[in-house]
Amino acid sequence: MPRRFLSLWLPYLLTDRQVIRQPELRDRAFVFADKQRGRMTISAASIPAVSLDIRPGMAVADARALQPELLVLPYKPGREEKLLQGLADWCLCYTPVVVIDAPDGLVLEISGCPHLWGGEKPYLESLISTLQAKGYQGKAAIADTIASAWAMARYGGQSIIPPAQQREALLSLPPASLRLESQTLDRMEKLGFTQIGQFIDIPTPTLRRRFGEATLQRLGQALGSAHETLDPILPKEPYLERLPCLEPVRTAPGIKIALEELLKTICQRLTKEKKGMRKGIFRGHRLDGKVEEVSIGTHMPSHHPEHLLRLFELKIPLIEPDLGIELFELEALLVEKISETQESLWHSAGDDVTALAELLDKMAGKMGAQTIHRYLPQEQHWPEHSIREAVSLEDKPSTDWDSQRPRPLHLLASPERIDVMVPLPDYPPLHFRYRGEILRVAKADGPERIEQEWWLQSGPPRDYYVIEDENGKRYWLFRLGIYGKEDPKWFIHGFFA
């Protein structure tokens, strides 16, 4: 069976994408530009800009001379690849083999596919019109070889070259359509070759001597005598399992059985790939067409069906089967790698940590994940900023806890104002009033000056004192401000054990 290829050209890929995002730009001339060799150079221009003769490769200054109201947007390298990757994933609904042809095209191997659309013509039209509906201007051509399809899409207009007729089709195209190097193209122009037909019949040794091996290779690829390799994208298989039911399921035990089945199959796949579920969604398609769904999240990626079942179980009562559910779906929305190092690091504690993570998942399932906190040290002196929240159970402290300076066991959520009696500046108070009670100071330690973190906030420093009152209770007080400069204020910030 002869192979057939479709080459898709998206000349306005970047600007089309921008118009989809900002429809108000549809009729405006705008360009993407970035600095190249010290000047702003256009890398992509919108259709209205091109109609004003502004083309990629021009300097922005020249373009501004043509069109003073030109809108210049910053160009980020690598954007095209990302967009093409997305489009390539979408093109998988047309054929299983899609190749990214950077910077502005895709190649689809369509052998054996077009008959599903009723032939190559409707196939091509369907692809182009769907792309147009999405907002992308595209041109495509179908041929026996990638190179000839590429050439036809870009230089010959939208067309289908019938099988084994690429030679005839190529005759009238310019040499640039063969993807030759610019040096070779210059030489051809000098020699007066403006069409492929003018040199296609020159004997091979002469062509090789004149234009090099690469030209022959390209020509061979276009005609089908040389091979061209394909590097198709791998379709991502979603972590999705389905379970259709013969009879609609209406009871909680029935739903649980379906869930168990689905979890078993999805966990088998996750275990094989050494991955675990972080976020999962369980859907039930009801007889009346409505979809019931519940979702869960976990603290550590997990592929234990029992644990995941326990998490989902809490939510089963939220599902309303009504007339019955005929199709169950389980999808892992967020999947993460389970690190093997983690298990070896914990040694015997490995099971403990898993059991603990499962316990925390259960709590988060009922109370919400925001109730669970674990703290790690942070290299900052301001007491409120000296800790940070741990992201996961495996998160390890990056610095040591500071045990040199006294830190209270209890810290008030925000410091409370107190009235004090101070004998001398820079001395701890003699007594202070807290919650209507006068407390006489028996012992004091300090001050420990903590300066504001000027890169975060500005203000006077805090001078901290450890205070013990007559009853033996210990407090952490601070003075905000310096005597003489401003009127200092006193606060209580914590309690020592």
């Binding site: 603990l356 669970i372 209270p408 066991l409 209890h410 012992k443 330690d445 033996g472 210990r474 020592f496």
Partner: protein
């Protein structure tokens, strides 16, 4: 006629049997004096701090609450195994994690669960106490009923996790199904003559109730990373409560 020694032996065996029925002997034991409680440990049944049960702590003043949490952290330091985690469930958390370091417990080993309702605190505590991979669960709340304390006790009997229940300013000090009831009050610290500053954390530790043990009252301080009897000048004398208060 049985000799006195025989009788004593019979009584000892019976006591051991009773202890077993009450769920004491089967609980894991710490090596003697690993908590550094010293003379204190003789107050407990079997002469060692009971693990795998629930202990109740009462505090009446915010500064005493800090002292109580300090004492609890001191206990946790020996309870939490190397590389293990403990749970700190609370509806009024004011613990500042860096402050825990002083009591010998790595703050990153503590997982805080901050909840709003006391009912939720009890639920989370019970769930935590059932998880045998934890070493200890600390709960901070105000009130709980006898039935609720029984639930906690039932949870630990399976898993052998130690529960430490800190009640802030409780309205009633009624009987609970906890093994012990403690009250920690902060004491003025002691410094050598003429030294400035504030000394080590010092507490008046009252063991108000203990099942099958002898309640007592001690003064101790947290020094050099462990509990030490506080004896600035007076001798280390143990004050025993009267017999009547024993089963109060």
């Amino acid at each position: 006629m049985k000799t006195l020694a025989d009788k004593n032996e019979a009584i000892r065996q019976l006591k051991a049997k009773i202890m077993e029925l009450e769920g004491f002997s089967s609980s894991p034991k710490l090596p003697a004096d690993s908590l550094g409680l010293g003379a204190f440990e003789s107050a407990f049944p079997g002469g060692s701090f009971p693990l795998g049960t629930v202990h109740e702590f009462i505090s009446l003043h915010p500064a005493d609450a800090a002292s109580t949490n300090g004492f609890i952290s001191g206990l946790l330091a020996s309870l939490v195994r190397q590389g293990g985690f403990c749970l700190w469930v609370s509806n009024r958390r004011s613990i500042f994690p860096p402050g825990l370091k002083r009591f010998g417990i790595a703050p990153e080993r503590v997982i805080f669960i901050d909840l709003k309702k006391e009912k939720d605190v009890l639920w989370a505590m019970e769930l935590g106490l059932k998880c045998s991979s934890l070493s200890a669960v600390v709960g901070e709340l105000q009130e709980l009923s006898f039935t609720e304390s029984q639930r906690l006790q039932l949870a630990v009997e399976q898993s052998k996790v130690t529960g430490l229940l800190h009640r802030h300013h409780p309205k009633y000090q009624h009987a609970l199904a906890c093994t012990t009831r403690w009250k920690i009050v902060s004491l003025g610290s002691h410094l050598p003559e003429g030294m400035p500053g504030v000394g080590f954390p010092t507490w008046q530790v009252s063991l108000l109730k203990v099942r099958n043990g002898r309640p007592g009252e001690w003064k101790m301080e947290w020094k050099e990373g462990r509990f030490q009897p506080f004896a600035p000048r007076e001798s280390r004398k143990q004050v025993h409560l009267s017999r009547e208060q024993h089963y109060a």
